[in-house]
């Protein structure tokens, strides 16, 4: 069946360092992959997405890489700040109605 999963449940980084959050997916038919950030007590917040016909997309301080050969997605955060501390979810968009299938989440902790 379809599933999206994460390699590392918790990632601790020093403020100013770069962070890399990884995600594996299994549905090769998915068209979009999206990263969400969820802070405590809030709903998921859209960060960046990438379409399946791309392998890299950059935003402000964030880069998403897609490797379809090994079904792997990563989120890179440059110069990580304390405000980046949150749970990060990857999600894939699949099927009619565009439901999102979420991964389990990675906790990012930024140490000052």
């Amino acid at each position: 069946g379809e599933s999206v999963g994460l390699h590392l449940p918790t990632l601790s980084v020093q403020e100013g360092d770069n962070s890399i959050i990884n995600c594996a997916y299994s549905n090769s038919a998915s068209d979009y992959f999206i990263w969400y950030k969820q802070e405590s007590g809030k709903g998921p917040q859209f960060i960046i997405d990438i379409r399946s016909n791309m392998d890299k997309r950059q935003g402000q301080r964030v880069t998403v890489l897609l490797n379809k050969t090994v079904k792997h997605l990563s989120l890179q955060i440059a110069a990580t700040q304390p405000g980046d501390s949150a749970v990060y979810f990857c999600a894939e968009n699949s099927g009619y109605g565009n439901k999102l299938v979420f991964g389990a989440g990675t906790i990012l902790r930024v140490k000052s």
């Binding site: 999206i34 709903g43 998921p44 859209f46 997405d49 109605g97 565009n98 991964g103």
Partner: protein, 114 residues
């Protein structure tokens, strides 16, 4: 910045009671969704709604659940007879007609079934 709003933020109910969770999606959006997140687990899809009908629903969304867009601005999720295992955060989301893969989420309603 436009946002999805959900009320109430916390709903406490007795097992067997009916609850209605309310959402006001972003005004120009046409696709609406409900998701839930049991504490410590991942976000799970419940149902999507477009053009006044359900587009897709998950196996979680059984006949105890229903959705409605009663007045053109609100989007509601009703659970007819709540069970203990319905305790979770319920998130409403919406997306616009063009970038419908990007879903914007509300802050959620925490449902506690006692």
């Amino acid at each position: 910045e436009p946002e999805v709003t959900q009320t109430p933020s916390h709903q406490v109910t007795q097992m067997g009671q009916e609850v209605i969770l309310r959402c006001v999606p972003i005004s120009n959006h046409l696709y609406f969704y409900w998701y839930r997140q049991i504490l410590g687990q991942k976000v799970e899809f419940l149902v999507s709604f477009y053009n006044n009908e359900i587009s897709e629903k998950s196996e979680i969304f059984d006949d105890q659940f229903s959705v409605e867009r009663p007045d053109g601005s609100n989007f509601t999720l009703k659970i007819r007879s709540t069970k203990l295992e319905d305790s979770a955060m319920y998130f409403c989301a919406s997306s616009d007609p063009i970038a419908k893969n990007i879903q914007y989420f509300g802050a959620g309603t925490r449902l506690s079934v006692l």
